[in-house]
């Protein structure tokens, strides 16, 4: 526990933690303010109705979670890559290994702290996003989203799925940075993988459903949302299983690389 507490303290003091959160919140605010301001200025009724679906009812909440999982996932990937890679770049891993700390325990605990920070960030961003959603609805003259009791009951589970998706993407960034043994190379390579998968998903939409970023992003999507980009969702259980598998694989690689690495830098 002292290791986890120390890892959390380090992340709380790390400027990148706050910068990433601010970037996410700023883009979220821009998105909803633009949506609210523009919705009632569009003359075409069909287009206007389409935009208003982003602000209506349960779809609005899913769009919000999807937004957090999409942009938030990229930020989580870069953040986790920066944290994992910095241990090598700054040489701090060398210090703890020389103190007799277990390499894999250290790496996995560091990632556990990242996952906790991501959860806190998601909760805050979701709460801020809901407030922005209400504001945008009011600006657009759309009734505030009405959520059924059943949907509200399932909401924590939906947020949990979004968190799992974010953590999986963060784990990929963390794993890549560990393999690269570099903060910069890790972040760069992680983002490159992410962008590459987006290209693949355009060229091969059906096959790309099984790829790590796409599968985790689809955790909170509805079949209708998937249809708008021309794909079919995987079975939710399969998506969940694949996301968990990618998460475990990324962390397993990170732990294995750290455990067997000769630390020269």
């Amino acid at each position: 526990m002292r290791l986890l507490a120390a890892a959390l303290r380090k992340l709380a003091r790390r400027p990148a933690s706050w910068v990433v959160a601010l970037i996410l919140l700023a883009i979220l605010a821009l998105f909803y303010l633009a949506l609210g301001a523009s919705a009632n200025q569009i003359p075409d009724e069909r287009q206007r109705a389409q935009i208003e679906t982003f602000l209506r009812d349960e779809t609005a909440v899913r769009v919000l979670l999807g937004f957090l999982l999409g942009l938030g996932g990229l930020l989580a990937l870069a953040y986790a890559g920066a944290v994992g890679g910095a241990e090598w770049t700054w040489g701090t891993l060398r210090v703890v290994v020389a103190r007799g700390e277990s390499r894999s325990r250290y790496v996995l605990t560091t990632f556990a702290a990242i996952a906790i920070v991501v959860l806190l960030g998601l909760i805050v961003a979701f709460a801020v996003g809901l407030a922005l959603l209400l504001l945008a609805s009011a600006m657009a003259g759309v009734p505030a989203p009405s959520l059924s009791g059943e949907f509200l009951a399932g909401l924590p589970g939906l947020v949990g799925l979004a968190w799992l998706g974010l953590v999986e993407q963060a784990a990929i960034g963390f794993g890549v940075a560990t393999v690269a043994r570099s903060q910069l190379a890790g972040v760069g390579a992680g983002i490159a993988l992410y962008v590459l998968e987006q290209f693949v998903s355009v060229a091969l939409p059906q096959q790309s459903r099984y790829l790590p970023f796409t599968v985790s992003s689809s955790l909170v999507a509805t079949p209708e949302q998937a249809a708008t980009v021309g794909t079919q969702l995987l079975d939710p259980a399969l998506s969940l299983g694949l996301t968990a598998a990618y998460l475990v694989l990324a962390l397993g690689i990170a732990a294995l690389v750290t455990e067997t690495a000769e630390i020269t830098g």
Binding site: A6, K10, W90, A98, R99, G100, E101
Partner: protein, 345 residues
């Protein structure tokens, strides 16, 4: 220089199997490490007695840092054994490192944390650290006043002191320090020397790697000199200094060979180095006790050779250079600094 090694048997040159590991803080036997095809350590036999400062010397690239990395499990040896504090140590025995404090290469900390928070973060790893110990070690290295400041605002010397503080967190019986005087100002070096003396008086063993010879000369009880991955000499500093004693003379360039004949005939000489041509004349070094410099000068004068300089040396530098390779003075004068080929920018 005191010899805390006392009566411990540290011979100046001996086969590995003659040294019992008992009573040694660090013992390596046949330690070998290669980076790809390039050998970094080639059968290193190191014997570090307990409760002393051991000066681990060698030129750049000789294998000092590689040795320290192997001693703390950062690297795996290709061959050979390591004993720490009398017990075998392998790469997987991480808990054995609970008894070792180390500062390997440059200090490594989180730049955005304060000095104190950095030590807190490190204290959460490895062995448990006693409450209050962090402030104690910060005071130890005179960083108490700056403990709340961010690490990235520290000077090089302060970073180095924080590195030493981190190594001391667990009050380890064995301390491995790689170039600890890097970046320290003269007052800092004096303070570090006092600190290390204090620690050895309490029973701590300090293995100090350095290429700053005067620093080691003032601090070490026992010295090991490594070159090209092998231990070329190990022994008590006072013994080694006596072995390395010499009288160095400089004569006119055209008198070098005649002076060599005269000096080769000095009775009791352990050898003659030179003549070496330099920009200011020819240098020769005769291996005799420093108090015979007058006699050496008289012999030269009797032969009609008048030395422009006679220097009695009994320093580690002479010994170090004689063991690791003395650069030719003409080469020093001719080449660019640090062996670079071009003109400095």
């Amino acid at each position: 220089m005191t010899s805390a090694a006392g009566g411990s048997a540290v011979a100046s040159a001996r086969p590995a199997d003659r040294i019992a590991a008992h009573g040694l803080a660090v013992a390596t036997r046949g330690l070998t490490k290669r980076y790809g095809a390039r050998p970094a350590l080639n059968g290193l036999d190191l014997s570090v007695p307990r409760s002393i400062v051991y000066g681990f010397l060698g030129p750049n690239g000789a294998g000092k840092t590689t040795t320290l990395r192997l001693l703390v499990g950062l690297l795996r040896p290709n061959a050979g054994t390591i004993e720490l504090l009398g017990r075998p140590f392998s790469w997987r025995d991480r808990r054995r490192l609970f008894e070792v404090g180390s500062l390997i290469e440059v200090p490594a900390f989180y730049p955005y944390l304060s000095g104190r928070d950095n030590l807190r973060a490190i204290a959460a790893t490895g062995p448990p650290v006693e409450r209050g110990r962090i402030d104690e070690v910060l005071e130890f290295v005179a960083l108490g006043d700056r403990a709340a400041d961010r690490y990235d605002t520290y000077s090089l010397g302060m970073k180095q002191r924080l590195g030493i503080a981190a190594a001391l967190l667990n009050d380890p019986p064995l301390l491995l320090l790689d170039e600890p005087a890097n970046g320290l100002d003269p007052a800092g070096i004096v303070a570090m020397r006092a600190l290390l003396r204090l620690l050895t008086s309490r029973g701590t063993t300090v293995l100090l790697s350095s290429h700053i010879l005067p620093e080691v000369e003032q601090l070490a009880d026992v010295v090991g000199i490594i070159a090209a991955g092998r231990l070329v000499r190990e022994g008590r500093l006072d013994q080694l200094l006596a072995e390395g004693a010499a009288v160095r003379v400089r004569v006119a360039t055209d008198e070098g060979s005649r002076a060599a004949e005269v000096l080769a005939a000095v009775p009791g000489s352990a050898g003659l180095e030179g003549p070496t041509q330099g920009p200011e004349g020819t240098t020769l070094t005769v291996r005799v006790a420093p108090d015979r410099s007058g006699e050496v000068n008289r012999r030269l004068a009797t032969a009609g050779i008048y030395a422009s300089r006679v220097e009695a040396t009994s320093d580690l530098e002479s010994l170090f250079l004689s063991l690791t390779g003395r650069p030719d003075e003409r080469e020093i004068a001719a080449v660019a600094p640090f062996g670079g080929a071009g003109t400095p920018p």
